[in-house]
């Protein structure tokens, strides 16, 4: 983002006027309002939500509702499970993507272009196409309701490989690798001492993006995990939505609990996540 040309970039010659600001503020309100209102609804009670006009400001029931959601919907366990799942998937994706991305960016081997094409091709295959056999597989292995049934199938990502390749092509000087080789370093030393340090910014971005995606994943977890076993947050929220707990304000408290960790991450790392998405977009 620190391009020296940034001052001369398209559109930048104009300062945004009042209308620009007004439209952007409206858009921002639209983006944030449902989240803020989740908190408002979570701080009320069911009977207040069944009145008109709907509440616009916080009430006093927030902690009571959070507690009910925490215990009745098992949100504490679900949050822990989701952290394990999303953390493992992010770590695995970053590690394997960096290794494969490095090989595709800087090393020579047979079938390289064919294999890279295969990686890109797999990005097009919808997940629905493999859920039935995956379900049969985890049923066969008695993995239903166990977290590895969600972690293992998503542990590698074609997008990640492609993302790291694109980054390392430019960010990793080939001379540096050659110099290390001349000094007698084998491939693993090269990876550890040269590739990982050079790739660190992209690894951080890929890790955050993967974590967000894994945290919010829905389709496969709802098939592989049940609400009574060890659910992720999303599966637990489905249980709330299906009315096992009919209280709307408690449902909103659950939704708030499931969203809050990522929102906090967005407040802290928002700039980097935005940069990562924009970077991936230009190069993808």
């Amino acid at each position: 983002m620190t391009n020296p040309l940034s001052a001369k970039r398209a559109g930048r010659q104009f300062h945004g006027g009042r209308i620009t600001h007004a439209v952007l503020i409206l858009f921002t309100i639209g983006s944030l309002f449902p989240l803020v209102w989740t908190a408002v609804a979570a701080s009320r009670n069911n009977s207040r939500l069944a009145q008109t006009p709907p509440p616009f400001w916080f009430g006093g029931n927030l902690f009571k509702n959070l507690e009910i959601a925490w215990t009745d919907a098992n949100m504490g366990a679900a949050l822990l499970n989701t952290t394990i799942v999303a953390g493992s998937i992010a770590a695995g994706t970053v590690l394997f993507s960096t290794l494969a991305g490095f090989a595709f960016a800087k090393l020579r081997f047979r079938f390289k272009n064919l294999l890279l094409l295969l990686v890109i091709g797999t990005m097009m295959v919808p997940p629905q196409l493999s859920v039935v056999p995956l379900y049969m597989l985890i049923a066969e292995l008695s993995w239903t309701d166990q977290l590895q049934s969600v972690i293992l199938p998503t542990l590698v990502s074609a997008f990640g490989v492609f993302f790291m390749r694109q980054y390392l092509v430019g960010a990793l000087p080939t001379e540096l690798i050659e110099a290390a080789r001349v000094d007698g370093a084998n491939s693993w030393r090269v990876v550890w001492h040269i590739v990982f340090p050079a790739a660190r910014p992209a690894m951080a971005v890929l890790g955050m993006l993967t974590f967000v995606m894994a945290w919010n994943d829905f389709f496969w977890p709802i098939i592989a995990l049940t609400q009574n076993g060890s659910p992720t947050v999303q599966v637990a929220l489905t249980g709330l939505g299906r009315g096992y707990i009919p209280d709307q304000s408690v449902i909103m408290a659950g939704a708030l609990l499931g969203t809050l960790p990522l929102l906090i991450a967005f407040v802290v790392f928002g700039k980097h996540i935005v940069g990562g998405i924009m970077q991936g977009a230009v190069k993808g």
Binding site: L24, V119, V212, F218, T238
Partner: protein, 334 residues
């Protein structure tokens, strides 16, 4: 880095070896030969070791299931006994063609896809254009625009179910303020599809805006300067410089959004409240993804679910081909 390497590196020159006493040179010779053999093996095989984890996982959890889905779609398989497979040939597919719920789901997927993707990308384009101006607090606007992306399908849908509530929902209340009657968002065909699309639009517009913004920042400023010299207004510059330059990016977002729309699942599942995977009392917002889930995991017919999965794949291929043809025509006309 250099200090980590062993002292006698293969970089040792020819003269260096020649100056050594003969018996030591022979020893060095062997060591160097061994090391260079190891080096060659390492250079040759390590790339495969680096790409191996991806392809191993892909074979186990990507390619094998993909092909096996095709195999399962030719069988009668029940969820309760997934190992008892009875060969039925193409019966799952021929049943699908006669199945009114399949055609209904296909139609809903198309309409929800259109009314969510088209406005979403248009708004994203406009917002990206505004974000590209010099702005105070531009990073705040960008992060705020991306926040819905951090919200899960489940959490977002649960909030919108409340907002779209028939009796006490905020949207009907606001419409009532300007004189409209209450709308039954969940039970009407068009209204429910509009509501489901709203959730999709809300979650993805900011994300797409950032992708457009990134592409806009790569447009050279000269293009705008020469357009300005020719007397083009800002709006004309947007139409004749920005949009044509973004064509590849727009195509990219169209493809990604289309793939996403084809797989729509969580929003219609949870918009139905507690009523399961039917997508409304009349299946009025049941998508293909939801129908697959209903057939497989509610009605327990895994074979039929597999056939639906393959049908979805074929539809995606057709859409991909249409996109490709359109892109070719667009780039020809440019």
């Amino acid at each position: 880095m250099a200090s980590d390497a062993p002292a006698a590196a293969p970089s040792l020159g020819e003269e260096g070896a020649a100056l050594r006493p003969p018996e030591k040179a022979g020893h060095d010779e062997r060591r160097r030969a061994r090391r260079s053999r190891r080096y060659r093996q390492d250079v040759r095989w390590s790339p495969y070791a680096f790409v191996a984890p991806f392809f191993l996982f892909f074979l186990a959890f990507g390619l094998f299931p993909l092909l096996y889905t095709g195999w399962a779609s030719l069988h009668r398989v029940e969820l309760t006994a997934p190992t008892d497979m009875e060969w039925v040939g193409l019966r799952n597919f021929s049943r699908l063609l006669e199945d009114e719920f399949f055609w209904n789901a296909l139609q809903n997927t198309v309409t929800i896809g259109l009314i969510s993707t088209v406005p979403q990308l248009l708004i994203a384009l406009g917002i990206a254009h505004l974000l590209n101006y010099r702005l105070r607090g531009s990073m705040f606007f960008r992060v705020a625009a991306l926040t819905p992306y951090a919200t899960s399908v489940a959490a977002a849908t649960l909030v919108f179910v409340l907002l779209f509530g028939r009796d006490y929902g905020m949207i009907n209340w606001a419409l009532g303020m300007v004189g409209f009657d209450h709308i039954d968002w969940q039970n009407g065909r068009w209204t429910s599809q509009l509501a489901v699309s709203t959730i999709v639009i809300w979650r993805w517009t900011g994300y797409n805006a950032l992708i457009y913004l990134a592409a806009m920042q790569a447009i050279p400023n000269d293009l705008y300067e020469s357009a300005a010299l020719d007397g083009a207004s800002r709006w004309q510059q947007f139409l004749h410089v920005t949009v044509p330059s973004l064509r590849p990016t727009i195509l990219f977002t169209c493809v990604v959004s289309t793939i996403g729309a084809t797989q729509l699942f969580g929003e219609p599942l949870l918009f139905n409240g507690g009523a399961g995977a039917t997508g409304g009392a009349d299946h009025q917002f049941q998508t293909l993804g939801l129908y697959l889930y209903e057939q497989g995991w509610v009605n327990l017919h895994l074979g039929r679910a597999s056939a639906i999965a393959w049908a979805m794949f074929l539809i995606l291929l057709v859409i991909g081909a249409v996109n490709w043809l359109l892109a070719r025509r667009l780039s020809k006309s440019a």
